[in-house]
Symmetry: C2
Subunit: 259 residues, 2 copies
């Protein structure tokens, strides 16, 4: 099995190192990851600027390819240019901080896996639920187990698995659950400050507001110390609204007399 | 009606000016847009750096607020900080170049409208299908007509309309169609070059590969000179795969003996 590994915390992060160590037991691992941290870049790709790729060394030996770009750039570049063939699986992570609910939209980690799914390669995004996480061993083991499951069962074309692992030792983990994306959203707050030159600037902060009666979502799972596994895809069509909007008769708008 | 207008081409683009002119006939318009072009940034938000906001003047008069950030930043900042209330509608555009099929994922224009939908504000993203477009009058009229439709019928919470207008004069437009997101994807090509210092770099290029037998998609509509209107949402759960994956019994993984 050939696995392409990437992330959004950067090629020198502890999370990707733990992931690679675990996956090497079951696969050939190729690492193509951002040269610098790329959190909250969403599904950005680099088109206005050229991309550069460097060999990244760790303790004197070649570790992987560092790309001066986004996580999605790394997957495109890794498959099209570096490997020049499709791997059996792409795994993105292990991210510091949870990627549940609406955070999926903003996440560079998830977007990398989604880019793989777009390229018809099965993919997994994996995160540990704390920004202060230092022990990635259990999450790395979960990644390995799920890689073997994907090998066994296959994954629908265009689908990726978004995995969140509570930041607790293995013996405190309650279990592993198949979940849906929570509807929880952020209550955004912009903190206003003034720079030494008297000019205002703003920092984005806020809180993720939980939804009370959700039972089978990613948010509920991690709150109860379960590993959450959510299948996600990139068909954004809202089919329910598509049906409802037939009553709008928008095809008649072409004849409406509006200046 | 209060409409917040943003885009990804930047506050000084011709597309946003045409949109604002048209919408002013039916609404109070507040403009909060990126100070610089932000194409293909996806749903990135600014968290590592502070955000700055400037008053942007055009021909000596105040035009709108310029944000040194992404389109999604503009919507958050516009609603939370500048307006401090929800507008009736957010419109993002008019973008140079089509946002159909998989491009929806990469698009800053669509992500701005999606950010509004996340904040429970009805939203429209609108694009003209050519990067060389110079006449935005018909697209601006379509935006106005659809704004009135949204006012009349309302829009499901969390749904936005992604609109693509063929780059032709009004009299050559074939009609307006309700569509679904096409499955068409890019065949990515990285063009390798060498800089004056002997170092390699890569430019991303490629072609969108059409799907042969799609009938009711955004891609098919614009190819046939129809305006395309696609309802999209941000629930990324793949419900079909969710059902299929029940047979994986992942809850048993917790007991598997893997080192």
């Amino acid at each position: 099995m050939k696995i392409l590994v990437t992330n959004d915390d950067g090629i020198d992060s502890a999370g990707i190192a733990a992931l690679v160590n675990s996956l090497k037991e079951i696969a050939d691992v190729i690492i193509v990851a951002p040269s610098e941290e790329q959190s909250a870049v969403g599904h950005g790709i680099t088109m206005k600027y050229p991309l550069r790729v460097f060999n990244y060394r760790k303790n004197g030996t070649f570790f992987g390819y560092a790309v001066e770009g986004t996580p999605a750039d790394c997957v495109k570049m890794g498959i099209r240019n570096i490997m020049q063939e499709s791997p059996d699986l792409v795994i993105s992570g292990i991210n510091h901080g949870s990627n549940t609910a609406i955070n999926i939209i903003y996440s560079g980690t998830v977007s990398a896996a989604r880019e793989a799914a777009i390229m018809d390669v099965p993919a997994i995004a994996i995160s540990v639920t704390s920004h202060e996480a230092t022990d990635f061993r259990y999450a790395a083991k979960v990644a390995k187990m799920l890689a073997l499951k994907v090998k066994e069962f296959g994954l629908t074309r265009g689908t990726l698995l978004n995995v969140n692992v509570p930041n607790f030792p293995e013996e405190e983990i309650a279990g592993i659950l198949l979940t849906k994306q929570s509807k929880a959203k952020w209550d955004d707050i912009y903190e206003k400050r003034t720079d030494p030159y008297g000019r205002d600037y703003y920092w984005l902060t806020g809180n993720l507001i939980d939804i009370k009666d959700e039972s089978d979502t990613d948010q509920t799972a991690i709150k109860n110390k379960f590993v959450s596994v959510t299948p996600i895809h990139f068909d954004l069509t809202d089919y329910d609204t598509f049906e409802k909007m037939k009553s709008w008769n928008i095809e008649n708008l072409i004849n409406e007399k509006v200046n």
